[in-house]
Symmetry: D2
Subunit: 335 residues, 4 copies
């Protein structure tokens, strides 16, 4: 395991618990030592890591997408034919396709694994979306099984009997190289949409008291026609908790939302500048290449851009146009 950040370290711990031997390394000496003390074999260089693994090696990288190529360049000369490199980070699947070709030229295998589970994965297990050749993936099955949540993490889908399939255990060989990160990319695209759906709905509840507030009554602003319909002061932490049981919209993201609101109903320690990682963007790029409509996922991504002020110039243009045609100063209405 190369890279012992939040995700990497927890995955090692889950593997150790399952009885796997793990050789671990990281640029930060102290995290290596910490995992050493928990039973992992520490390595303080890639050379040491390679030496401590027996061929055919399986080297799992859990690194920021931006440094994977550098790591590969240093790692590959240390490996021997038949070894497998696993990229479990958030790489773009285009990079997987390129790297797989490069490694194949040296008789190395490349397996891309999209890992979902976040900081909770140590306890819950990780959902693993896997791309690569059949043979190295098969060899890694025990590792995937140990990392994955296992079938008991959810009730079985009616109609699925007998021995649980890998997907039912929480890992799946999705297809050839890139397939793992492709599925993970779309997973994150969906995640954006789900998050936005909850956030927008709760925001409607948050503003359901708008009829209680006095409003500007300047000539150009249309007043709320029916303030009597917006007199509700909802208790959002309770509503989020309520929906967790029995409703159609129960989900793990809702569980987390209920937790977040419970701790701080006004979310006052957040600024609302929402980051987006590569996956949401790449999902859009894929949808555009395929020519399939994704109005909801596009909207979710655009809203994140907006939240960071990237639409400010466009907004100023709107105000400028309104001034031009109607003499409207900002904060006034009309057309």
């Amino acid at each position: 395991m190369i890279g012992l950040g939040r995700m990497g370290a927890a995955m090692v711990r889950r593997l150790l618990r399952a009885g796997h031997r793990c050789v671990v390394t990281d640029v930060r000496r102290e995290v290596v030592e910490e995992l050493q003390s928990e039973g992992a074999v520490g390595a303080f260089s890639l050379e040491e890591l390679a030496r401590q693994l027996q061929a055919p090696r399986a080297v799992w990288m859990m690194l920021p997408a931006g440094v994977v190529d550098d790591a590969l360049e240093r790692l590959v000369p240390l490996l021997s034919a038949g070894d497998t490199v696993i990229d479990g980070g958030n790489s773009y699947y285009h990079d997987d396709l390129r790297r797989a070709v490069q490694l194949r030229a040296r008789d190395l295998h490349y397996v891309d694994v999209g890992v979902s589970g976040g900081v909770w994965g140590l306890e819950r297990g990780y959902c693993l979306m896997i791309g690569g050749e059949r043979e190295p993936v098969r060899r890694l099955e025990p590792v995937f099984a140990a990392l994955a949540p296992g079938v008991e993490a959810a009730t079985r889908t009616p109609g699925r009997d007998g021995s649980p399939s890998p997907a039912e255990q929480g890992w799946l060989h999705c297809g050839p190289n890139g397939a793992g990160h492709f599925v993970k990319m779309v997973h994150n695209g969906i995640e954006y949409g789900l998050m936005a759906a909850y956030a927008e709905g709760l925001n409607i509840l948050h503003h359901a008291d708008v009829g209680l507030h006095r409003h500007d009554t300047d000539a150009e602003t249309t007043p709320l026609r029916n303030p009597e319909d917006y007199q509700y002061s909802f208790d959002l932490p309770e509503v989020a908790e309520l929906w967790r049981r029995g409703s159609v919209i129960g989900s793990w993201l809702l569980d987390l939302t209920a937790h977040a609101l419970r701790g701080n109903p006004e979310l006052s320690h957040f600024s609302g500048h929402v980051s987006d990682s590569g996956e949401g963007r790449w999902t859009q790029a894929a949808a555009i290449d395929e020519g399939v409509p994704t109005p909801v996922l596009s909207s979710a991504l655009n809203q994140r851009f907006s939240s960071r002020g990237e639409g400010d110039f466009a907004d100023k243009l709107l105000s400028a146009m309104r001034f031009e045609f109607g003499g409207h100063l900002e904060k006034k209405g009309g057309g």
Copy 2:
């Protein structure tokens, strides 16, 4: 209980299981008799229903939104001061506000309850979003508790200890009249967004093989620049199953999606004309009145309209414009 349709009948059964006495009626004699045979008290008219209940009565209507006012008109004269009428259907909360005023004038209570759970509620329990005065709601607590899933339906949110709150049991007094259906309305608005997020994401996976197909190469169509990146044939039933365990996007809707895909991966028995009930529309209307942005929920609703062909004239206009400025015939590109 007035109205023994899919939802009403199942709710009676759940109440009977919990030991509640239920007087039931419906325009269809046979469904009344069926529930009679299961332990309910049958009534074959509203008069009979009113007679068999002791004051203060609690009359729960589980009727299509369009017939509630008619039923109320016939029911109210049969009730006495202090009785409570509960509307558990999908009424617009504007109607709740109006009806509550009308009933209050006759010393009757009105309680609006948004019920989520669908056909699964008998076993899973129902999530109940409740609006109305404090007193009649308090009197109904045992009923709500019997219908709701109970705290064990989900792991408790960290930080919530001691005796579970009503919300943790799956029912909540959300506020004054209309509050129940308001929260249910937004719940359904969110539901549309969630559903669309999964559907769009899975559609991207469904079309990830677009590079395998030959494409029109007429002069005006831009060819797919990188067909080698779209060579994946994903097994959607397995992917949906996979995401159920350990991933960030696990949810009950995903459970259902996995089930639906398992049975028919191509969904060939659906046409894709997606209905929308009132709640999705009303959610938008509320957002507009409040002036809060809901790009994702708006998009989800718009896509449902599109799926039913309601945008066809607009699409024809686009083709007509393209023909006008570029001489483009349909199915050709350009600008």
Copy 3:
């Protein structure tokens, strides 16, 4: 003419130029006197206005939507059977329908006129969208013709020969009461979409130099993959000017945009908090009632709400969820 604001006063001037006799009033004495000095008949009360007009009177109100009902209440008792009241402001067409019924009960006519043209109308003429009964509309034709731009304001549409229709002159009897404001409402809905299209496109050009800037390279942010493709520093005032001639996207709004950018390329005196008047919202409400998809118009309205910070709580929720599942602090990425 009741109401001598920006629009009302200019319309009187245009009518005076065309030789019409105008009796004018306003709560501000000085604007009445100013128009008096330009040839209008001043009135300093509604009574005086009614007295100075001969039956059948035509009283044109050019008032903020919020005060029309008050004005009508005071005006109606002063009128006689057969008189016509014209509402040329930005009323909701629902109000037109109600008012027309009320006035008809007193043998008065009500005509609703949606007026477009803004501060430029005095010179350009006003585009008039008219709703009401046939007879009073016919009587007002000379007034409409004087206010409208006339056929020479645009080249005639090929295939339209002979005597120009009213629509070709810039005014149209669109249908019964409410039809005028309905068409104006949709006109403004379209306007929002057009404005947003320009603003978003120009914003893309504005940020086309993103590859020239250094970017955060923390572990969680995906770097721009191809900075070499975003090295353009476009001169937006020149680009907007360029598109005014010969391009497919030439329009009056583009003319105004070119003017605004010419004066202040960075638009630094605007904050970007974009107002929305009632029409954009009502357009959405109509689309929802009709069940027709309006993804672009919905998006344009939602973006205006966002520009004013009404989505902030939703954005905070997104950040809170990201923190919950991934330990992400704001301004970092991942999934």
Copy 4:
């Protein structure tokens, strides 16, 4: 001029009218001969074309984006140092960047020109967005000036006096290589948004008679609450014509829309499967790379995808989910 399709042939004619000498070629012998008869110098091969032009040559390609690279490969060996190749088609600006480097290695210049104007350009002139090095662009100025509409094509923007800038004449050197096609790409992205805004608005008017029709009254469908508000039968060709004069939304696209509706108000000869060319997609890709929100432009593109049925599988998934949780058969409502 290589490529005498709809655009190329018309551009040659416009150049001939302005007194320019044009050597023309095309794979179709007859179109070469036709232009020969109109005064152009015909060439029946690239070799002949190169021979007939004097160095430094200016070779303008007006070809489908998909065949430009092939043409360049055959053309380049025939050119000499200092010659300029102009790509006036709809190339992706990424390709411009690549080609410019390739040509520079052989001391050739590459100029990319985005051309807007469509089939009307011969009379109206072409709007030219130009990218490339300063020197070859300067040499081509007379050509650009002849193709462009000229300053008289629109009233001058207030504040612009004196000798008209190139942008005011309808052509602009936007920046280095790729800048021309970048600006044209965004131009088309805006075009999609504008078109959709008109189409959606007119569709709302088209359905404003929805209250006149009887509706399904099955239990699960929410009826239109206020059919009395949707009783309008608008005359769309007249409304489109009306808006052309004096309104805020006048534009060339509206002129075309009025023409299209005039000829066929129901647009019955269009199917509504709307094509999209590369530019709309590339605009989105650029916005995503830059991280700027484009909710309106995204929506417009997504709607085109939807119009061609590319969202069908997603729609089926929605129906399938509705069936799963609510037992809803398609065409029924609920939640």
